[in-house]
Symmetry: D2
Subunit: 187 residues, 4 copies
């Protein structure tokens, strides 16, 4: 295969894998998470590195949907309290800041949702719901076409876009209402 084809092979590979991965996400868990959104006071998201960017992209949509939302680690945040919902995106499910965030939130009486690629990870101990994001891969192909956490991050991005559509339907709102909550002074 010539090098010129790596781009198209990669986007095709990543998309096939996202389909496999998201097919394994249980509708039951999604329903549980959706219920937590409607029974929680405020939503907090947390993630590091590229997982953090995925979490922030979701947070922007939650603001558009009218949920009071905070990104842990940004300038404007608030103390997590009992009755809040904390969503943690962590591929490994084992990094200390992610696990600490889960543990502290759990101890404060908040609901915790973890989204992770590692079954039985440390973070799952403190989570009310854990979404397990994973697929069996040929490692040679994966390293070439989707190095490092690429499959996890891209899958979670799409998953959270799907959850956004679901929450929009659940609120009986429209794109137009979401747009009205969009920042007017975005830099």
């Amino acid at each position: 295969m010539t090098q010129e084809m790596v781009f198209s092979e990669s986007i095709s590979y990543i998309q096939r894998k996202i389909i496999d991965i998201l097919d394994n996400v249980s509708q039951e868990e999604i329903d549980k998470i959706k219920k937590l959104f409607f029974s929680s006071d405020r939503i907090f998201v947390y993630g590091a590195g590229r997982s953090g960017l995925v979490a922030k992209a979701f947070a922007i949509r939650l603001v558009h949907l009218g949920f009071q939302t905070f990104v842990i680690g940004e300038t404007i945040t608030a103390p997590v309290q009992k009755g809040d919902l904390v969503i943690i995106v962590s591929g490994s499910g084992e990094t200390i800041p992610a696990v600490m965030t889960a543990e502290i939130a759990h101890d404060l009486g908040a609901y915790v949702v973890s989204i992770t690629a590692k079954k039985d990870s440390e973070i799952a101990k403190y989570a009310d719901v854990t979404l397990f994001i994973s697929a069996t891969c040929d490692e040679v192909d994966r390293r070439k076409y989707a190095p490092l956490g690429t499959l996890f991050e891209a899958s979670v991005w799409i998953l959270l876009d799907g959850l956004t559509a679901d929450l929009l339907a659940g609120k009986n709102e429209s794109e137009e209402i979401m747009r009205s909550r969009h920042a007017t002074l975005e830099q």
Copy 2:
């Protein structure tokens, strides 16, 4: 003078200049700004570079004081509306994003406070109140002890800390209440 003394000369120089600069800030303008805080729905802050960091540091205190606060350009923000207060920190008062932010906020019916080092700057046209932060300096000393926007940024930091104390008194609240609003999951 030996090089070893530059550190102590610089901190002494910067502090003397901050005193001069803040002596020139009119109590009347501070009172106007304080009134805007108590008559506005929500507070937005904006700044670029080091001025943006000064604005964010103030935003954190506003959250501690219980004001609903947003940092323009961060993940979680909201559309500026009539009745909001927008505070813009811009040394030059002329950079396009800062001026645009002021103009759009003004046109939307928000109150605009600009904090700038340049008299009659473009940004002042759109501001309800402008705090003018400046001092006469010997340029040789300034370049050596406080290069670039150092005096502006340090003075505004202290000024906004003073405004924080003033707002705290205005709300009849205590450090303890502020602490209770402090993020528990700060990373």
Copy 3:
């Protein structure tokens, strides 16, 4: 259709649309962009809101690939110079900060790549290469399953992951070398 199915309908819809959108991206343009990476001194990325998060996610991979990379608007950046490459992600291709960034970078002699959903947008005037990201959609479905810029953002995320794999092959490097450049103190 019951509301419970919106999640799975949405992820399926988004994935079908991404396939359509990325099928329309020309290999020729990708090859041009790839050449710019290997002939540029440094890489700068820019985007606002969710597009900015997509741009940042790509920037992290560029660091892993060993390119000297900056995110415009973050604390640590540098002056754009002749010979640098500036990549701008902007759905509308018309927002003032995005267009200004393109114009200034172009005038400084940098190469500019714009990624946009709007043909003949203002930003394209200043771009050496423009990737046009778009698909014909039934608007009723799109609003329900992929509100606001969802399709653009998700497609660009996958596209840039594909470009990452392509650049990795172009550098003859491995996932292992990328991992060695990964932050050790990520918070």
Copy 4:
């Protein structure tokens, strides 16, 4: 005292305290830190909340001074290595992310400088140099005029501005060279 005077009382109080605090910083420790700058490969800064903003403001100046600088936790960072310098600003000197950052950096063979308000804090164990930032205060005045970490943060801001001037002299460079390294596309 009328409420109207709290602003001017506060800025006067903060400035008096900064003078006291910085008088206690030993020139010997500053000299040690300065030497570390000139013998280190790259500089990393870390801080959370308002301390993090102070650290970032310093990082911007370090870029202007031509040091290769990274902010731990931002998009573009790098793995800390032996021979790097890690500067950690933490009022308490005890928060887990700050202590972990110090410990990991120390174990990797990097130099660690901690700036803290707490003597014998956990973080000092891993630091090559610790700057102790503190003053005896009447607590009634402090709570009213400088609540929470205000005195620490403002003092460290000025201290690092002084260190900037010192490093500028140490490099025999000018404000003009610093300006040439200033971002041209700051948002």
